[in-house]
């Protein structure tokens, strides 16, 4: 079954966005940390899933949900259950949902480079690749991430997604991934 799914995914590479008429579902979790962990598991297994904003009736505050192709519901639920990460709820959707920002903005400060994703900014020293500042955001893990990451080398530090728990941490992770590409 697992092999079958992997073969199917070989033929479904490309954009993770779904086409009109695709049947999609949402995996709902009690917290953003659970969403981040489940996404990591499913992507590790090669599933075509993406993190999006929940529809209005599911919003509780600092939220993310996982969008997936409904046709793969059984396999996805099985994997998550095996890993002890079963979702709180699985619901089908047909409406447009909010897409997280995926555009980053770069600003060059000479010896320093800043990358902004949504409301989060990551700044490194280009000479040493050291993270020198983190700015923006409003969730409680932003100051925590700053404490954990500032002073560390970009390539040696744990990723914001591994340390954080909120949508702001997710946004910082996008800036971090873009920065990694930039320094490579």
């Amino acid at each position: 079954m697992k092999g079958e799914m992997k073969i199917r995914r070989l033929f479904s590479k490309g954009s993770e966005k779904y086409k009109e008429g695709d049947f999609r579902g949402l995996l709902v979790y009690p917290s953003t940390s659970d969403v981040i962990l489940a996404e990591k598991i499913l992507k590790g297994e090669g599933y075509k899933v993406r993190v999006v904003g929940p529809p209005p009736h599911l919003r509780t505050g600092c939220d993310l949900v996982i969008e997936f192709p409904l046709i793969e519901q059984l396999g996805i639920e099985r994997i998550l259950k095996e890993k002890g990460r079963a979702p709180l709820n699985v619901i089908p959707i047909s409406d447009e949902i909010l897409e997280p920002i995926d555009l980053c903005q770069k600003k060059d400060f000479g010896d320093y480079l800043m990358i902004r994703a949504a409301n989060m900014k990551l700044i490194i020293d280009k000479r040493t690749k050291q993270i020198v500042n983190i700015s923006g955001g409003g969730c409680p893990d932003v100051p925590y991430l700053a404490e954990m990451l500032i002073g560390k080398n970009l390539k040696e530090t744990p990723s914001p997604k591994d340390l954080g728990h909120t949508v702001c941490a997710y946004a910082l992770h996008i800036a971090y991934e873009d920065m990694l590409k930039e320094v490579d």
């Binding site: 505050g61 939220d63 320093y112 700044i123 020198v132 700015s135 409680p140």
Partner: protein, 300 residues
């Protein structure tokens, strides 16, 4: 009373409340010290500096440890909801608190039911939930940056993460965002938009802009928006009219930034240390002559 509330990134820190003082560049609530780092401590520290400069009583703080799991935020919401009517603050500033609709609603109901409504400032996560709840116009002042302003102007967005419009914005679009945010009830009466140019607004109209001194590196320094939020709360508590308080805060932040001579690697502590000097620079123009008619928020 000036009441300041927000989380501290220390997972073991319980709910702590009380008057705050600054000693040796650290904050103390009772005997417990906290470093003046970015986030809630920056906001509290600058508010405490302003209160000290104006000869006011020390701010009352409510803090708890939270690294994004929402546990400390829950303690703060619940404490405030249960005690706000006895604390009777005249100015409140809510800061790094996990957005949570249910808990916000509980606190919102408590705030609605107190006898004299305080002047309510919101920034960071608490501003996100105040807007998402649809009750932004119950509050008095938000202090967003440009990305957060675009979020306030987007009635469908529950978080700045989902707001695309601002990232390649043009400066002339900022006023459109301000108007839209106000018309869609995404903002309170007063707004201080922090950025390359600061916009001070009332009822969706830009009343003043500030763009000098322009210190490019400040954009990189985490916590330099928190300092503005702390200053403006302290100044309003001291009796300054909200538009004046916004102007002084934005100017003092720029002056303090300029005095710190920062690079993108400078930490906010270096800016906070210059705020007393920056306030002194502005004092002659704005502090004197206003003390007689500035009793509103201090005395309730």
């Amino acid at each position: 009373m000036l009441l300041l509330a927000g989380t501290i990134p220390d997972p073991g820190l319980p709910l702590i409340y009380g008057r705050v003082r600054i000693k040796d560049d650290r904050l103390f609530i009772g005997e417990r010290p906290f470093y003046l780092h970015r986030g809630t401590p920056s906001m509290i520290g600058t508010a405490a500096i302003v209160c000290h400069s104006l000869g006011l009583e020390e701010p009352y703080c409510v803090i708890a440890g939270d690294i994004g799991k929402g546990d400390g935020s829950k303690l703060i919401y619940n404490y405030l909801a249960e005690n706000i009517h006895t604390l009777k603050p005249t100015v409140c500033s809510f800061h790094y608190i996990m957005p949570d609709l249910m808990l916000h609603h509980k606190l919102f109901c408590a705030l609605k039911n107190i006898e004299a409504k305080p002047f309510l400032v919101a920034d960071a996560g608490y501003m996100y939930i105040a807007k998402m709840s649809g009750c932004a116009d119950f509050y008095d002042l938000f202090t967003p940056d440009l990305g957060e302003l675009a979020f306030l102007a987007d009635e469908n967005s529950p978080h700045p993460f989902y707001t695309r419009g601002f990232i390649f914005h043009r400066p002339d679009e900022v006023e459109d965002f301000i108007t839209k945010a106000y018309k869609t009830k995404g903002t309170p009466r007063f707004l201080l938009v922090k950025g390359h140019t600061d916009f001070i607004c009332e009822n969706g109209r830009v009343m003043k802009t500030i763009d000098e001194p322009n210190i490019e590196a400040l954009e990189c320094i985490g916590g330099t928006g928190d300092t503005i939020t702390g200053m403006v709360a302290g100044l309003i508590y001291g009796g300054h009219q909200p538009l004046d308080a916004c102007y002084i805060s934005a100017m003092a932040n720029r002056i303090a930034g300029s005095l710190a001579n920062p690079t993108p690697a400078t930490q906010v502590m270096d800016v906070i240390q210059r705020i007393p000097e920056a306030l002194k620079t502005l004092r002659k123009e704005h502090f004197n002559g206003r003390q007689e008619n500035i009793k509103t928020h201090r005395d309730g």
